[in-house]
Amino acid sequence: MSDIDYILRAGARAKGKRPDFLGDPSSERMLSILLAVVGEVSVLKERLDTVERLLDAEGTISRADIEKYRPDRDAAYERGLMTKEYVARIMRGVQQEMEAMQTDEKPVADISVDLRDN
């Protein structure tokens, strides 16, 4: 085994000042943590899918089976679709904000007044 602390070194920082995207370091860190957790949930979902497929096919399972599992074309499509759907689900707020830019909407309170009076 190499003497490199691969866990620490895997997350090494790239040289070059990181842009300020969100205007606040805490928000930057929160987003980094959130997206990492989002990624890990996706990994867990995929692993569970592997377990289910192996159980369906074999009725039994070992860790080695999970490690060597390679989806065929149909299974790969179904899993890819699952991940695509998962990404769309977690990004709903961003997608809806994009849609909102396409319209010029009044606050619902204004509509409420309008409906009350007309």
């Binding site: 040289k15 995207f21 996706s42 995929e46 692993r47 890819g80």
Partner: protein, 400 residues
């Protein structure tokens, strides 16, 4: 839902002999990043243009009584827009996560990878490293595309970590658009030359800035009788690239550590093809023309010089498109990207000895197995900077 709308799985990547072996979960991490990248560019990428047209541009016009005059003014204005900022933050994180996952996968098995590379590299005349080659400033001013250590970094002396990490993540960043060996660019070159010059067998090809050789191996395999030399300044990617080429059976391909600004090792007219693939944007304003000059010098009369790059900015390209194509320059550590894409490449080629009449520009799209891999999107949903759609800037050197 069409099949091609769903990216291929990481398990579709070809595991050549020095490719790091992913665990189930490492592959799944790349699968997530692949889906996330596709979402960022394809689904919500158009939101950037929407934000620009609906509010950033109107606000700019109101403030300045005119339109933005260049891509930099658009960038400064867009960098104040909360939607674009959030999108950029997501994209930057995706790039950083790709690096962490690739490095974790490589570094935990570095002993095995180094051992395999040593075995494939030992005493081979086709790998020539030269420790006296300094890392150029344009290669170490920042870590290019947020790759910790860049191309020349080592976790321990003599390792292949930089090359292996580079190789294993291309699939995720391009959503599989470059194919099972991430060599869709090289495959495209083979297809292009066979169509352009059927029956031509070059005697010698020089690939400049080869990194891990993924774009030159297809040419080496397509022209087994051609002597091919691939150069780069970074030893770690050459060690990996040579081992990779050997593993893939490209034995007519020599990897040499060398700075292309000085090709004095080769006589005038030595090569009949001088190639770069997605390399020119990682140089500097002085190095680029110098490398072109040297490339033209070592190119034989009648020979081909070809540079595969993302499209150059021109007056015909809308400023917004220039701005979005510039994203990597400022957000993904590509500090020469913006300046390079605004250079007059035709003039540089002309000054170096390739007259306009000998030059051409052509579009090239990655060649992949369409049964498994997606055909790259272009246009509004394109993943700018990473799309497997390039322009080839080339010239056939005049005979006299």
């Amino acid at each position: 839902m069409k099949r091609e709308d769903v990216p291929p799985p990481y398990t579709a990547v070809t595991r050549h002999d020095v490719f790091p072996t992913p665990t189930h979960d490492e592959a799944a991490r790349f699968n997530f990043l692949t889906a996330f990248n596709k979402y960022l560019s394809g689904v919500i990428g158009p939101g950037n243009k929407l934000a620009y047209e609906k509010r950033v541009l109107p606000a700019f016009r109101a403030e300045h009584q005119r339109d933005p005059k260049d891509r930099f003014e658009i960038r400064h204005a867009m960098n104040k827009d909360p939607w674009h900022r959030f999108w950029s933050a997501c994209k930057r994180n995706s790039m950083e996560m790709r690096q962490q996952n690739g490095r974790a996968m490589v570094l935990r098995q570095l002993d095995a990878l180094d051992a395999k590379a040593r075995q494939l590299n030992a005493d081979r005349p086709t790998l020539q490293l030269d420790p006296s080659v300094a890392t150029p400033r344009y290669q170490n001013a920042v870590d290019i595309h947020c790759m910790p250590g860049s191309y020349h970094g080592e976790e321990r002396p003599g390792d292949v970590s930089a090359g292996a990490n580079y190789d294993c993540g291309i699939f995720a960043t391009t959503a599989g658009g470059l194919g099972a060996l991430s060599d869709g660019g090289g495959q495209a070159l083979v297809e292009w030359i066979k169509r352009e010059r059927p029956g031509w067998t070059p005697q010698r090809i020089l690939d400049v800035g080869c990194t891990i050789g993924h774009n030159i191996v297809p040419l080496a395999l397509a022209f087994p009788d051609t002597e091919i030399i691939a150069i780069d300044t970074a030893a770690p990617v050459l060690r990996y690239g040579h081992a990779r080429a050997q593993a893939l059976g490209a034995k007519n391909l020599k990897f040499i550590q060398m700075n292309a600004e000085d090709l004095s090792r080769f006589p005038d007219g030595h090569f009949d093809w001088v190639q770069t693939t997605m390399f020119l944007h990682e140089l500097s304003g002085k190095a680029l023309p110098q490398i072109i000059r040297e490339g033209v010098r070592v190119l034989a009369p009648g020979g081909l010089m070809l540079h595969l790059e993302q499209p150059q900015y021109s007056d015909e390209m809308p400023l917004y498109e220039q701005f979005i194509r510039d994203w990597d320059a400022f957000n993904n550590n590509e500090p020469f990207w913006s300046a390079m894409h605004a250079m007059d490449l035709k003039k540089i080629l002309e000054t170096a000895g390739l007259p306009r009449a000998s030059q051409f520009v052509t579009g090239v799209r990655a060649v992949v197995d369409p049964a498994v891999f997606p055909i790259a999107a272009s246009g509004e949903k394109e993943d700018h900077g990473r799309a497997a759609v390039w322009n080839a800037y080339g010239a056939w050197k005049p005979q006299s």
